[in-house]
Each structure stands twice: as structure tokens, then as C-alpha cells.
Symmetry: C2
Subunit: 403 residues, 2 copies
């Protein structure tokens, strides 16, 4: 039976700054190795090497316009007053005979022998399967020559780029079918859970679905979400056995009877940082399993779990996935219509509501629970050195969507 | 053997405006019906009904701070000079006896009988398993009462909201495990393909992977990507047999021999619109299968396929999925450093490159192929009524990422 008194009183002085925790993550958590994936499944992944064109674009001379492919020198002298007659060739012929013309669409490869395309409006029907060209064109007219846009060996996209759907089209057009991308980090989440609840109502598992959605947003694979006992032995056992690219323990980080996650990590592996100057999220921690896998200890209270994930664990997931490690929200400078209060020495998360395109106001403190944290339009991070900002000040707002 | 001459000459006059095509899509393409999904898989989906709390948050009176739960009236008169002694109860007891105190962490449910929490720093160790309280607290101190943040029946999130990962945490904390969301549209893509290529090099299938990535970005399920013959019979057969929420035919929309997709749709179902005042993307079309499924005909050339998807097909996918139908890019007013030229009567897509946070310049025309279209930072849509914009003008830029 644990009854308490084992821990120091809460004081900002004993806490690690968010900046130091971020520096630890950046030093300890590296991108995964590359893996080859089919192009159709590569959107959102991060290129591990430069993508270099293996084929020319276009791959062969092709029609740039809809019209008739023919030999340009056979149109010399053609005009509305002096139409030149061509035999119309079948649409599927690979070789164009002299004196023939073949209907092509923009983007079609030219038949062998053709070197120009006459626009449809410069050809009129002639007798018995013939067409009459009323405009002279030089060789090369109406053509996109092989390699005009891209030659083999050209770097199309650089390593480190997160592939946008449009990029997939470019790579496919360049003949690339598989690409090397940074691996998708496998993240295991352990949820130390209260097994006996005082006044009866069971606690909803807010953190499992929340963490799964967040990890997937950040490019990770939430391969496991497992409730475990909230005692030291259960947590330590989970940490010892784990095989993963990243481990999250959500819960069991509080003080007193609840403070088993940090002790378990210290026993099973290494506890590098515990207790942060972050509100909500004070009881978060960082460390490593015996096998060297980074471990993020997050508080169990939903709002604290959310913010400690966003500022710490999410950064680790994004780094492992090769992504930009910064907060994945649109950031905009906006004016606060009301004073924002913050405790000096603490990094504080303050949910805000948009009043207009340029103005926000703080809503109830993030400590007011996850309902207050997520229904607003975004949030502001007030840094440790600040006691807050006055009304009328410009702050950097992280926006969930467009105001 | 098709040799041509079946179609009208190209002229902006014969084309449907993009605005009219968009109006057709908005009138014809409705959101799918709702389906229930597990909360952990609901991120990114669109709520079909208001999400209403079924449980209170917190579900029971709980500790707001780390400390000792006890009966507030038993602390009357306690101070540093007059400590009150409490028996320390086991951490897992559901009921607190009179005269006892139990260590709790913020967020823990209170044991039955307790009505206040004294902060850790106001309790000091006493003899043989006792603790001495040095601060008097009233009932309710250090407590978050049941339902403080949310009461049962409260609307947490409104119908139509696209669920953010944070929302998942809120719904989970409110005891919700499944949510009604708009169905995920099943999109079938047919790729009419040139079977014989004139000068030998096979055409890369740029459109299949591109469309899959775009459809998934927009909340659809690219359930089928099938190459079919580029002849009328093959396309018509595919359209007749199809079961889907949306059909895309990419290719076979050009003029002359290539113009089989529109004819096939007219024969198999209904061709509502063909040929648009959109560049690239002139040969796009819209209609319905015999079963009433909306069909988008996209050009086969990759850049034209891309832009016709973005302006037309993507809107249909997003509408079916219940999402905001607007282009899914961040939009920002920026100044163009160079003149942007556009043909009057045509909606033109102009890829742009960022020069700074506020300035862009047009890059090679979108007609210069998909390489020119996707390597820049974003694009501008020049409307039909405009011949372009002068240097120094402010334009709305759709950005792929942050400049």
C-alpha cells in the first residue's frame, strides 16, 4: 500500500523547460531508414532520396495539339486556295506512309515518319478517305519533342520532401513506380489504467482513440494501444518487452500513488527527464527502453495528455517519420482582444477563439478540461519567460482550420 | 477505322464555363448517407449528426489537484500551529472512513465519503501511517465536481464538422465510442489506354497513382483503377456495369479518334456537359451512368487530368464525402511580381513560385506539362472574364505548403 510523501513539493524550479525537452528529443530521435513503397501508396510519405527521372517526358515525340500527324515537308505551299490532299491513315497504325496523315490527339505519340501536326481546323474532308490540308506547317509544328519537359537524369523532387498527391502524378508520368521513403514509425501506446474507481463510474478511455488519431496524423502507425495495470511492475514489464520505433505511456505520471510510470521507466530503462515546465502536461517525462527505444511519458488526464503529446510526443513521431518536426498547424500572427495570463516559468497552452480574420480571444484555461481545449479555433503557446500578453498584442496562433 | 472530322472546331464559344460545371456538380452530387464507425477510425470523417454527450465530464467528482482526499469539515481549525491528524488510507479503497485521508492524483475519482482535496504541500508525515493536515479546506476544495465541463445532453460537436484528432479525444472523454459519419465515397476510375503506340515507348500510367492519391486526400476510396480499351464499346461497357458512388474516366476525351469517352457516356448514360472553358482541361465532361451515378470525364494528359480533377472531380468527391467542396489548399492573397497572361473566356490555371511570404511569380504555363505544374509552390486560378493580371496586382494563391 502506497500512501504518499515520496515526492518533492511542486515547484517550477524542479522542472525541465520545454525547450530542453525538445532538444533531448531532437538529439535522441532520428528518422527511420528508407523503405521502397509503390507510388500509389506514397502520398504523405517523405522522400528518402532525390527522385530522379529515369525516362524522358514526354517519352517520345508526341502531338502537342489535336490534329493530323504528317510529314511537314509534304505541306509546302498548302493554303485554302491550294489544298494538299493526304490519304487518311488508320488510327492505330504505328508507321505513317508517305502521303498519308493520321488523326491524333494532344499527348498521343507520333506515328513513325510523321514530324508535324496540322490543327484540325486546317484540314477539310476530301474525297474517298482523303483529307485536304489548307495550311503549310514546318517539321516540328504541333509537336512536343521527346524530353522537352524532363530529360532522364533530371532531379524531379528532392530528398526530404513530403509527397503531395500532385507529386505522385509527376513521378508516375516520369515512369517511376516505386519510391524510397522514410519508414512509418511503429508506435506502441501503453495506457496504465485505474482498476478500482472510488465512486463507481468507470473512466472513459479518452486517450486511446485520441493517441491513435494523433499518431496517424503525424505519419506513425499506432500499432498497439494496450491498457495495462497502473502499478510499477506492470509498466516496467511492458517497457522491457517492447519492440517498436517509439513508445508512449499515457497515464501513471502523477504524483504520489499515481507516479509509477517514471519509476518504472527508471527501473526498466532510463528516465532522462521528468516533470516539465508545461501546463497542462506538468507530469510528462522522457527516456529510453533498455533496447534504446525512445519513451514518452504522458499524463493520463485527457487535456494534459493531448498537450504533452502535441509539444513532445508528436515531435518525436514526426521526426521518426522524417517530417517537419514543428507543430502541424497553420500558424498565423493575430491580435488578442483580451489579456492572456500565464504563470512565469511555465510554458502554457491557451485555447483561443477567432473573433475575425485577424483577432482572437483566449477561452477558458486549458486546465478547464479537454472540452475547453478542442472546441475553440486554435491555441497559443505562451513561453516560459512570459507572464502573458496584454490585450492588443500580436501572438502566434496555431489554427485548427481557417477562421 | 475512325479517321476524324466528326467534331466541331475548337472555340471558346462552344464551351461550358467552369462556374456552370461547378453548379451542375453541386446540384447533382449529394453527400452519402451516414454510417457508424468506431471513434478511433473517425478522424478526418465528417459528423453526420450532432455529437451529444451521453455522460457527464467529469463522470464523477474527481480530484482537481494532487493531494489528499478527505472530509473538509474534519479540517476545521487546522494550521501549521495546529495540525490535524488523519489516518492514511490505502490507495485503492473505494470508501473513505471518517478520520481518514487518501492520496489522490489530479483526475482521480474521489473515494466515497471524501468531499475535498488538500494539496500535498499542506500535509506532513505524522507517526505510524498518519498524516498531519496544516491547512483547513472547505467541502469542494481541490475538487472538480461531476459535470463541471460537460453535462449529459450537451452538444459537443455539430453535424458537418470534419473530425480533428483533438475532437476524437473530446468524444472519447465524453464516453462516446462510435459516431455517425458521412459515408466514404467509393470511386471507380477507368483509364482508357492507347493499346498501340506509334513510336514504340509505352506511355507511363501517370493518372492511376495520381487519381488514387487525390481521391484519398479528398476522403474517397479509390476502390478501382482499371485500364480499359480506348474505344467506345469498351468505355460504354464499363459505364453500364458500374456500381459506385462516383465514376471517373481519365483519358479518351480528346477530339477526333480519341473522343470516345464522351460518345460512350452519351450512349451508355447521359452526357450533360462536354468541353469546358478550362485550361488545362478543355476536354473534360460531366454526366451520369444509367444508374444515375455521377461521371466525370477527365483528359488523359497528366497535367490536364490533374487540373480537371482539382476543379471538377475533386469537388464531386468532397461533396459526396460531406466535406467542404472548395479547393483543399491554403489560400492566401499575395502580390504577383510579374504579369500573368490568360486567354479571355477561359479559366486558366497558372502555377506560381513564392518569392517571399507575400510575393509570387508565375512559372511556365500549366500547358508545359505536369513537371511545371507540380514543382512550384502553388497556383492561381484566372477566371474566364479576365485576360490576366498586371505585375503588382494582388491575387488569391492556392498554396501546397507554407512559403
Amino acid at each position: 500500500v502506497t500512501t504518499g510523501f515520496s515526492h518533492a513539493a511542486r515547484s517550477p524550479a524542479g522542472r525541465t523547460s520545454v525547450a530542453d525537452a525538445v532538444a533531448w528529443i531532437d538529439a535522441q530521435v532520428a528518422p527511420l531508414a528508407a523503405e521502397m513503397v509503390a507510388l500509389a501508396h506514397a502520398a504523405g510519405r517523405v522522400l528518402a532520396q532525390d527522385a530522379v527521372a529515369t525516362a524522358a517526358m514526354p517519352p517520345a515525340d508526341q502531338a502537342a495539339i489535336d490534329g493530323f500527324a504528317l510529314r511537314g515537308d509534304e505541306t509546302v505551299g498548302a493554303s485554302a486556295y491550294n489544298p494538299r490532299s493526304f490519304r487518311l491513315a488508320a488510327a492505330d497504325g504505328a508507321v505513317l506512309a508517305p502521303g498519308a496523315a493520321r488523326l491524333v490527339s494532344a499527348g498521343d505519340p507520333l506515328p513513325v515518319g510523321a514530324d508535324a501536326v496540322v490543327a484540325l481546323e486546317h484540314v477539310q474532308p476530301g474525297p474517298s478517305g482523303s483529307g485536304e490540308v489548307i495550311d503549310a506547317v514546318a517539321a516540328g509544328h504541333g509537336i512536343e519533342p521527346r524530353g522537352r519537359h524532363v530529360m532522364p537524369g533530371t532531379t524531379l523532387l528532392e530528398a526530404g520532401r513530403r509527397l503531395h498527391p500532385h507529386d505522385i502524378g509527376l513521378l508516375a508520368a516520369a515512369g517511376i513506380t516505386r519510391v524510397p521513403v522514410i519508414g512509418r514509425p511503429r508506435v506502441r501506446c501503453f495506457l496504465p489504467t485505474v482498476t478500482s474507481v472510488g465512486s463507481g463510474a468507470p473512466l472513459a478511455d479518452a486517450n486511446g482513440p485520441l493517441l491513435q488519431a494523433l499518431i496517424e496524423r503525424d505519419g506513425g502507425d499506432a500499432m498497439e494501444l494496450r491498457r495495462i495495470g497502473r502499478d510499477l511492475a506492470a509498466i516496467a514489464q511492458a517497457l522491457r518487452a517492447v519492440e517498436a520505433d517509439l513508445v508512449i505511456v499515457a497515464g501513471g505520471t502523477g504524483r504520489g500513488a499515481d507516479d509509477q510510470a517514471a519509476a518504472a521507466l527508471a527501473e526498466a530503462g532510463e528516465l532522462a527527464i521528468h516533470r516539465l515546465a508545461l501546463h497542462p502536461g506538468e507530469t510528462a517525462g522522457l527516456g529510453r527502453t533498455p533496447a534504446g527505444v525512445p519513451v514518452l511519458l504522458l499524463p493520463g488526464a485527457p487535456a494534459a495528455c493531448l498537450w504533452a503529446y502535441e509539444l513532445l510526443a508528436g515531435r518525436a513521431v514526426r521526426r521518426r517519420a522524417g517530417r517537419n518536426p514543428a507543430l502541424p498547424f497553420r500558424r498565423r500572427e493575430m491580435t488578442t482582444a483580451r489579456k492572456i495570463v500565464s504563470a512565469i516559468g511555465m510554458t502554457e497552452i491557451v485555447p483561443v477563439r477567432c473573433l475575425s480574420e485577424d483577432r482572437i480571444e483566449p477561452v477558458a484555461s486549458a486546465a478547464a478540461g479537454i472540452a475547453a481545449a478542442v472546441r475553440p479555433d486554435g491555441f497559443v503557446v505562451i513561453s516560459e519567460g512570459s507572464e502573458g500578453v496584454p490585450a492588443g498584442a500580436v501572438v502566434a496562433v496555431h489554427l485548427y482550420a481557417t477562421c
